[in-house]
């Protein structure tokens, strides 16, 4: 396999991993701090993408619509948390699963009723629609580079927020020991709402950024949700650093698996076997990765809880 192909796949995995990070970060915080399994996280991703598409149509500008979409989705998330999800914190995980699953159904249908069943248009902003020439003679979609840029930027901002600010310290305290944090006088209700809203905004960012390359359609959240759960389990629940490393690992294994395994298999096995085995194995790779991590470090790579 040529160097250019390898580099292109490496960039692809980086892009995919960073977007997964946006989703996983919110999910791991909610799970770590509020101890809540939120299946509707994928729905917030979908709502973010739809709101973004709608705002781009209304305002005519990608970059104007983006912050508006983030704020709008954060508000939706906050509203959801205050009205409904708050009652679930005290309930057991299974009840949370049932309730958030119900929210998925309702959200899917609501979106379908408002925007219709067809996929809606969300295109990359002008100037980022074509490829860019990279050193080494390779062409790469400029928009995907922008995604990588945004992903890295957000990762840095989150890192700064969580480790260097007071709010971040409260979040970390809540993640590692909630009862103690409450006992120390942290206004837990406001913190939870803020964390949830932040998670929703991150989902919206992922949805808005991925919209131009994936389709904006009803049910787009469910597939990526399962990957986000795999990421936070690998990374360790409640840890942003874990989410970052986990998502990059998953992005790498998934993309490289899909790209390299079929080629490797074609060299080792007859075509009939290779064409069946290759894709099957590459789909399984992330689950094998997760199982391997759990056997070696059952709490994940960077567990937040002591």
């Amino acid at each position: 396999m040529s160097t250019i192909l390898f580099l292109e796949q490496a960039l692809n995995s980086l892009q995919f991993g960073l977007m997964l990070f946006l989703l996983a970060a919110g999910l791991t915080l909610v799970f770590g701090i509020m101890d809540m399994i939120n299946l509707a996280h994928g729905s917030l991703y979908m709502i973010g993408a739809y709101l973004m598409a709608e705002l781009v149509t209304q305002t005519g500008s990608f970059w104007v619509a983006l912050p508006l979409a983030l704020v709008a989705t954060a508000l939706v998330g906050a509203a959801l948390e205050v009205s409904l999800l708050r009652t679930l914190y005290e309930r057991d995980h299974l009840t949370q699963v049932l309730a958030t699953f119900a929210i998925i159904l309702i959200a899917n249908e609501a979106v379908r009723m408002i925007w219709g069943p067809q996929s809606i248009m969300l295109n990359a902003p002008a100037g980022l629609t074509g490829p860019v020439q990279l050193p080494g003679g390779m062409q790469y979609a400029s928009y995907r580079l922008a995604i990588i840029g945004v992903g890295v930027l957000v990762a840095l901002v989150l890192y700064f927020l969580v480790t260097k600010t007071r709010v971040g310290m409260l979040v970390r305290a809540g993640a590692s020991n909630r009862e103690m944090a409450v006992a120390m006088g942290v206004n837990i209700r406001r913190l939870f709402t803020a964390v949830f809203a932040l998670g929703a905004a991150l989902c919206a960012l992922a949805g808005a950024m991925l919209g131009p390359i994936l389709a904006v359609q009803v049910g787009m959240g469910e597939n990526i949700l399962i990957l986000a759960f795999v990421v936070i389990v690998i990374g360790g629940i409640g840890s942003i650093r874990g989410a970052f490393v986990g998502s990059l690992l998953v992005g790498l294994v998934d993309t490289m698996g899909r790209a390299l395994l079929p080629i490797a298999f074609a060299k080792m096995f007859p075509p009939q076997v290779a064409s069946n085995l290759g894709p099957a194995l590459s789909s399984i790779m992330i689950y094998v990765l997760m199982a391997a991590v759990l056997f070696l470090r059952p709490q994940g790579l960077f567990p937040a809880r002591g």
């Binding site: 309930r91 049932l98 309730a99 119900a102 159904l105 309702i106 379908r112």
Partner: protein, 312 residues
Amino acid sequence: MKKIVILAIVACAFPLAMHALDQGFYISFATRVLIYAMAAASLNLVLGYGGMVSFGHAAFFGAGAYIVGILTFEGVTSAWLTWPAAVAVAALAALVIGALSLRTRGVYFIMITLAFAQMMYYIFVSMKAYGGDDGLSLPRRSSLGFGVDLRNDFAWYYVVLFLLMIILYLLHRLVHSRFGRVIEAIRENETRAAAIGYPVYRYQLACFVISGAIAGLAGALIANQTSYVSPAILHWVQSGTLMIMVILGGVGRFWGGPAGAAVLLTLEEVFSGSKLLGPYALHWQLPVGVILLAVVLFAPRGIAGAFAKRPQ
């Protein structure tokens, strides 16, 4: 006891009533409910009684279905061969997956079981010889002999009902036996159970395997019901649906599985097939979602829990 007798009588009379009302389609629908009741009951054993949240139960359900599918496709049509084979393979899968997964706890157990189920899903998707992603059509339903033709909706319904009754009876004996009490003790406080001297791992594994075996039987039945198997039956969404049924019906309550299956499938059918809703019937997931939410908020112990006597 009296309630169970009434339930049994209603279940037996149902197809006759539907036939009289010329609503033959609902016999087929009811059979599907019975099959999912069995699958949900099997999950409830391991999830409700055992406290092990298995997110990969579709693996055993689907394994049973595929064994019947593959064997029937290859010409082996006798139910006396294919159905026990389905149960055996599902039990074996449960043994392997359980042995590996039960070393973890909590959310990690959930994710590991999910991972194994997804692995099985992708393996079956890639099996082009047996349809792969497109699925496999069964040329016919299994043959039972004794002059019983399972293609007849009536005969099929009663066979499934009979099997469900046997399974529920066995489950009832199991959860009220010493085994059942130990499993529940382990669920309540694992450390204490281990301290008393019970081999926790072995009990949990046994529970897991029994649950998987029953799910395999349900899978064998669903393959016959639709005369079709596809990898979708192994997908995590299927596992999720079974979990929703159990949670809806009441986790750890004996009738939780069957109640949840009956309610969820009936809601789906009522809303999606409703003539009243007209074109809005396409949006059936909305009222179903609202009702599920209502159950969470107002019937915290599930539907079976809502009808049960208040605990002392």
